[in-house]
Amino acid sequence: MAGAIIENMSTKKLVILGVLLLLFQAFSFMVGGLIAPSPTTAIHYMATKCVDNVKGHHQAKKWFVPWGPKKCDKIRDFEEAMAKRIEANNIVFAVHIPMPDKEMSPWFQFMLVILQFDIAFKMHNQIEDGAMVTVDVGLAYRDSTVSEWTEMAHSVELRKLSCNFTTAKTIENEGRHYECDVLPFMEIGSVFHKYYLLNIRLPVNERKKVNVGIGEIKDIRLVGIHQNGGFTKVWFAMKTFLTPSILIIMIWYWRRITMMSRPPVLLEKVIFALGISMTFINIPVEWFSVGFEWTWMLLFSDIRQGIFYAMLLSFWIIFCGEHLMDQTERNRFSMYWKQVGPIVFGSFCLFIFDMCERGVQLTNPFFSIWASDVGTELAMAFIIVAGICACLYFLFLCFMVYQVFRNISGKRSSLPAMTKARRLHYEGLIFRFKFLMLVTLACAAMTVIFFIISQVNEGHWHWGDYTVQVNSAFFTGIYGMWNLYVFALMFLYAPSHKRYGDEQSSGDQVGNSGEDIQLTTTITHVDGPTEVYKMMGKEAQE
């Protein structure tokens, strides 16, 4: 009979494997921390206030450029506009992305822009409650400094102003700025062009109450965020290296399973599915985004990640369930509908949410589900449902883990009654089983710890001359870790070949009696249960 490789492997080999994996793990952290720059860059843009002198709107759309040879007529502040009798509708806020002498690159992968208003407090012109700003915005691009601008998108968007004024609303405090929350403004999933231009207008229409009661806007500030080219390159390199590694072990794993006389059991299938979803993430299709304008890449990578997370969570549930060692026959996916259901439902909710946000952004980069009240409620609903599903899942998982450990310790109490050789053997097996549980926990804990570190830290540590990019280290390290986890899982849980060789050890022969067939654990009747489970079952009988 045989079990998985982990059961038949000697401790020495296990340790060697562990050390090797740890080395790779350290390496993947170091790649991010030492080679890659920080994952993203945020750049401040202060919108230039251009004056639209063109009378009438019948001619072709004009683009206003804040600087450079064809720069627009600009005004420094609105007092100047007041003096020159320029109307609000003729003021265009222009932002050129990026800064002078720089150009954007497809390696930046995505770009999101955040909007921030500087609004001065005036006694008689305060921000009304629930004020909405109507933004008429156009996005254009060009690929050389001399060519014409080509329109990419145009939209009229509503954004809710949430500003508060922390000091007393008295005449002395006039001119102080409100503290306004940043507003999501734009998101594009591929930075294919070299230069981008944003033209923003805040049209006023008193009759329709458009842009009335929004206070005295002093400035519009934008923050552009994109992924750093260096990080993208390191990330691609990592994916390109990991894809074949996981693919090879996957093929090897499946070959081993098909070589057996019995059909694969559920746990084996799930591990294989996990491998597939990992490979799905790993495959570096992003290379194409350097050559093609694929704006859906952002959405696509969200979906890939979602599938992997759902798969990983399902795997843990099934892994625990198949090791429960109670008298129930599982080995069917339908047995786990109660636990896997929340995962599927929660992921589905997040998928719908993502489609509503990033999906719509494919056609209108300025869309934000958070901009409207209905959208916000809908989005919150999806997120809350997903949150409830996650809680439900973790309750199930914790309960199952608890059950497994309870069963183990129950079986363990009967250990002293056995012969010494058998006891040592069994104890070793229990240790290895727990070892994998602990590895999972360690991985999860590492993820959480690094996540917290990257959240509270400012992003980089200085070590003498070296700068360690903590955030990049987090991304590459954690990504590498889960790859190694899947790798180790497929390697250690592949069926062992030792059954083809020596039909070994006393314990097995004893165990082949009728009593443990009724125990029916993980690995089907054809092959008999793996040693661990069988042993557990046996002890229970003893």
Binding site: P39, A81, A88, M99, P100, F108, R176, E206
Partner: protein
Amino acid sequence: MLTARHASLMSLAVGHQYSSLASQPILCSSIPGLVPKQLRFCRNYVEIMPSVAQGVKIGIQECQHQFRGRRWNCTTVNDNLAIFGPVLDRATRESAFVHAIASAGVAFAVTRACAEGSATICGCDNRRKGPPGEGWKWGGCSEDVDFGNMVSREFADARENRPDARSAMNRHNNEAGRTSIADHMYLKCKCHGLSGSCEVKTCWWSQPDFRVIGDYMKDKYDSASEMVVEKHRESRGWVETLRPRFTYFKPPTETDLVYYETSPNFCEPNPETGSFGTRDRACNLTSHGIDGCDLLCCGRGHNTRTEARKEKCHCIFHWCCYVSCQECTRIYDVHTCK
């Protein structure tokens, strides 16, 4: 000579005060009172000189806002190179404040100008990896704030390199002004990971409203440390340094303002100290503070007259440039110092 010495940075603001700063190139040699180092700087960084001037200007405006009800109200005279008059010649609290707020203003305005894209030399320096130009694509840019501070330091401190006490004081106060900007930057973050989760988060530092800096510097003005001048003999000759006058007070930190001469009371006009006096200044009858008639008029009493002012009322405002109002007449009592 003394007058010109503290004037040049400030004169930048006057020379271009009412011209459209952004559109006209600045001729470095036309700015009066620059020392050679500043002139060199101006030629190298001619793109950002308008924002340097703008910075000094917003510093002075803030000064005038903060001191609006005080005996010394940051008065500037336009027909003189030394726009504050002789006030800044003395090492007083007022000098300390003006230097600090002006150097903060320069750092502020340059940072802002960089965000507007009005200069190509901002931010992205070549400290990053890779060949020039590629650094930006590899790892982005450094913060504009650092650049703003650098400009302020290079330019405002250029003339404060003598070993005398006044240079030491100015250097300290300039630095205090710049530090106040750095200390008031606030962090904003955006989550943009899977489904917008905080798995990926990008943060950036934003500059505060300059009024916040003004308030803070005003506090520092009120709690400024008085120093005494100490002379040491060093290899390069006599060096003057500053030491806190009162040892039982906490010594000034990097962010505190320092001075070593007492201020005149600014009650009576005095061409020597640069005091304009408070005669004819409007005062607040109901206030018991420094802007109240008792204190502001230095006990000389005040005149009261009644004024009918036409004012705008029942206005409809737009976010920009348009106010439609009715005209109302209101009667005011105006109190001015004797």
